[in-house]
């Protein structure tokens, strides 16, 4: 039990610190400090280019995708070294957000399922940020019930072996900035839903791919709809066997949990400083008994998440594989940040309604309030995560699935009873 660095870790930390000190884009520091949830805050230049150039610089010095093997553009470093890097990168870590899905989920899937040639071609530019990836999983009619997806992949009738894709994906983060997509599609509707799926990757610049940003509830557009109209994909871009898509997707989803980093934050430090700034009855809010009780509640959640992350890293560094127990990170963080934002606005009083970047506390809590509903849904809703904990950690039985042995094409698609005409 030790929170301190070992001598090797300390040496690595000082090497990292020196490199970041000498190379980080310091001209962006002030803007990044005022970044809000869902908004990286860079206005002085193209934020996408800012992200890509920092990633490129890191890659050239061997600091990109630290945990990947060197031949795929990684740093071949230990989990602990990766954590130390993340801690030291600090503020500039926000510049990596553009690559999170690609490097955290698509990359590991490619690494596990693609052939050697594809890995050597695809992974290094993903690591260096020259190519951005997105994950084409969710659909309008299949969110939590992902295996119910309807996008079709049909063999071309010209004997080429190519696949023709038609359908629609939704909630695709960063599709508008992506060069590649990891796509799961239905290749056989005559078998039960999990068995008729196949995984592919494709260039997002392929003809017939159309990306339409979604205007979200918080006014931003980070999610997209992606439409496929007769999009042609060579069979060589298939990952896993035909019909094995569900199994392949589990690699992706498991790696979502592996991207533990140093855990999610709930915005607690900002709340604490707010409580010292705003007043109740002429005294700092932090002196109010009710405020203190609430603050303590948020504190133990924030710290509990932080140390849960550290325990997971400890396990990882001992060679254990992080399992479904890591589902608690987002489950706790999502709900906590939403509650925290509501509490912060309450403390701000009537001014809490103001959402101005140059307004009180940079509009930070308003941004969390308006973005956090998505956190509770994306990448596994609170309810799905509770099912995962219940079934895969605690060993409880699965729900009864009425569509389990039914051919996909026979599964009902509407809950509304059909009314006979006349």
């Amino acid at each position: 039990m030790d929170f301190e660095d070992t001598p090797e870790e300390a040496a690595f930390r000082s090497e990292v610190r020196a490199w970041i000190e000498a190379n980080a884009p310091k001209h962006l520091e002030d803007q990044l400090k005022r970044a809000n949830f869902g908004d990286i805050g860079i206005t002085s230049e193209d934020p996408i280019q800012a992200c890509k150039s920092w990633q490129k610089k890191k890659a050239e010095a061997g600091w990109a995708c630290l945990h990947w093997p060197k031949e795929y553009g990684g740093g071949n470093r230990t989990p602990m070294e990766r954590v130390i890097w993340n801690q030291e990168e600090g503020l500039y870590r926000a510049l990596g957000g553009l690559f999170t899905i690609g490097q955290g989920m698509c990359g590991p899937t490619v690494m596990a399922w693609a052939d050697e040639g594809a890995k050597r071609r695809l992974l290094p530019p993903l690591s260096s940020g020259e190519e951005v990836w997105c994950q084409l999983f969710s659909e309008p009619a299949s969110g939590s019930d992902l295996a119910g997806l309807r996008t079709r992949a049909v063999k071309a009738d010209d004997g080429s072996g190519d696949w023709i894709i038609n359908g629609q994906k939704i909630w695709t983060s960063g599709a508008q900035n992506s060069d590649w997509g990891l796509l799961i599609a239905r290749t056989d509707p005559d078998v039960p839903k999990h068995k008729g799926l196949t995984m592919f990757y494709l260039s997002m610049h392929t003809p017939g791919v159309e990306v339409r940003p979604i205007k979200q509830a918080n006014g931003q557009s980070s999610f997209n709809e992606v439409y496929f109209t007769d999009v042609r994909i060579p069979d060589a871009q298939r990952l896993g066997a035909v019909g094995q898509g569900w199994e392949v997707s589990l690699t992706t989803l498991m790696n979502e949990r592996l991207s533990i980093g140093s855990g999610m934050s709930t915005g607690f430090p900002s709340l604490l400083s707010l409580c010292m700034d705003v007043e109740i009855d002429g005294k700092p809010a932090v002196e109010d008994a009710n405020v203190r009780s609430k603050l303590a509640q948020f504190a133990v959640r924030e710290m509990g998440l932080k140390y849960t992350g550290m325990r997971a890293i400890t396990a990882l560094s001992k060679g254990e594989t992080p399992g479904p127990e890591n589902s608690i990170g987002k489950l706790v963080a999502g709900a906590t940040m939403q509650d925290l934002a509501m509490f912060a606005l309450d403390l701000q009083g009537q001014s809490g309604v103001i959402w101005e970047k140059d307004g009180p506390h940079d509009g930070r809590f308003q941004a969390i309030l308006m973005r956090s509903p998505a956190t509770r849904i994306e990448g596994g809703s609170d309810e799905i995560l509770r099912n995962i904990i219940g079934e895969r950690v605690l060993g409880l039985p699965g729900d009864i699935r009425v569509d389990k042995d039914v051919a996909f094409k026979d599964i009902p698609t509407s809950g509304r009873k059909k009314v006979a005409a006349g």
């Binding site: 039990m1 030790d2 929170f3 301190e4 660095d5 870790e9 602990m80 954590v83 607690f268 430090p269 604490l272 010292m276 932090v286 008994a289 203190r292 009780s293 603050l295 303590a296 509640q297 504190a299 133990v300 959640r301 924030e302 710290m303 509990g304 998440l305 932080k306 140390y307 849960t308 550290m310 325990r311 890293i313 400890t314 396990a315 560094s317 001992k318 127990e325 608690i328 489950l331 706790v332 309810e383 995560l385 509770r386 099912n387 904990i389 219940g390 079934e391 950690v393 605690l394 060993g395 409880l396 039985p397 699965g398 729900d399 009864i400």
Partner: protein, 374 residues
């Protein structure tokens, strides 16, 4: 960084678990609850013989000389079986008071006996309802004689020696060591929500009292020792929370309703998932506490309050929902659910209520320890 216990500590944990399970586990708590005994003497002696009472007491004072991390491991196992023994009062508190503030003679007089289970210690601080504060202490010591009433005193019904907070002649809160078998001591056993860890009223009328630590240092020492004890009790709470969750899980797998295992209903499944979340956050916060306790880190006060608040909530959450998952059977005396519910709610008040510890946590974070939470 390494946020885990060592293989030796894990082996100790297994050993203590086997020892406790071989002796009946939570059934020992029921045994005390349904008898007139104030604690389980046989079990306590067994723990002493196994060396776990003296785990963190140095060898020169009759202990085993292991670390506080080992004691955390022991505490978790005692919590799992809600052991009906006065270990919190005697070991987490009184032995710690002696180690932190006792003179060589005081340590020699009492630590070997505490480690051997031959004597039991109790900490007498509270004087009635409400949040404890130095100005609420009315007990006084004059000419080496203690006068006043302490209520409630955990394990005050069976203790041989007490550490008592009282005002010295100059009016400063100080700590005193009082031999409870001596003159001027009257004790009354009180009924409580958890009689397996007894509560008593101690009335002192001129009882001989010996200063422990410096005069006027009482509140400061008590705060330090209660921080340390809070982490150990948090481990007991953690063990209890885990066990309550397991009981609920096992029942959800076994019990059928509407033709299915009740654990397949999301209403039950999600309740259990939330219990798991509470217990996991508490465990992680307890690891932080254990590290701070064993290493003497400057974060100890923040870590103690964090572990304390988190583990209290987890145990209460798991214990109450354990009854809920069991339905009507959970409210019978026959089922063990109420044993955990009793202990969870009693431990929630030991060393001060949750709101007291929430207040301490914020005070400590804002007093320059904010970095620990960042």
């Amino acid at each position: 960084m390494n946020l885990d216990f060592s293989d030796e500590q894990k082996a100790l944990k297994e050993q203590v678990r086997r020892f406790l399970e071989d002796r009946g586990g939570a059934a020992r708590m029921r045994g005390v609850l349904t008898s007139d005994a104030s604690y389980d003497k046989e079990l306590y002696q067994g723990l002493a013989d196994l060396g776990v009472l003296g785990a963190a007491i140095p060898e020169e004072f009759g202990g085993v000389g292991l670390s506080h991390l080992d004691l955390c491991v022991v505490a978790e196992e005692l919590g799992r079986v809600i052991a009906p023994v006065p270990v919190a009062s005697s070991i987490y508190l009184v032995a710690e008071f002696l180690l932190q503030a006792g003179s060589q003679a005081q340590k020699q007089a009492w630590l070997p006996k505490l480690a051997a289970g031959e004597a039991i210690g109790a900490f007498a601080l509270v004087e009635g309802e409400g949040r404890m504060a130095p100005e609420k202490i009315k007990a006084t010591v004059s000419g080496g004689k203690l006068t006043g009433t302490k209520v409630p005193v955990a394990d005050g019904d069976c203790a041989d020696v007490a550490v008592v907070a009282a005002k010295s002649e100059s009016g400063a809160v100080s700590l005193y060591l009082v031999d409870l078998s001596g003159p001027g001591v009257e004790r009354t056993t009180l009924n409580s929500i958890d009689p397996s860890r007894g509560q008593a009223r101690l009335t002192f009328s001129g009882a001989p009292a010996e200063l422990l630590g410096g005069e006027g240092d009482g509140w400061h020492i008590a705060t330090q020792v209660m921080d340390r004890a809070a982490i150990l009790i948090a481990y007991e709470q953690l063990g209890g929370a885990d066990r309550a969750l397991e009981m609920a899980r096992d029942y959800a797998l076994e019990r059928m309703a509407f033709g299915r295992q009740i654990g397949s209903f999301q209403a039950i499944k999600h309740m259990l998932a939330d219990m798991y979340v509470s217990a996991t956050l508490a465990r992680s916060n307890c690891y932080y506490g254990a590290w701070a306790l064993a290493s003497g880190a400057s974060e100890l006060p923040v870590a103690a309050a964090t572990a304390r608040v988190s583990a209290t909530q987890a145990f209460q959450h798991c214990a109450k929902n354990n009854i809920q998952v069991h339905g009507g059977m959970g409210f019978t005396f026959e089922y063990d659910c109420h044993l955990f519910y009793r202990r969870a709610n009693a431990l929630a008040l030991a060393l001060g209520s949750v709101s007291t510890w929430e207040d301490l946590l914020v005070e400590r974070m804002t007093a320059g320890n904010a970095a620990a939470a960042a």
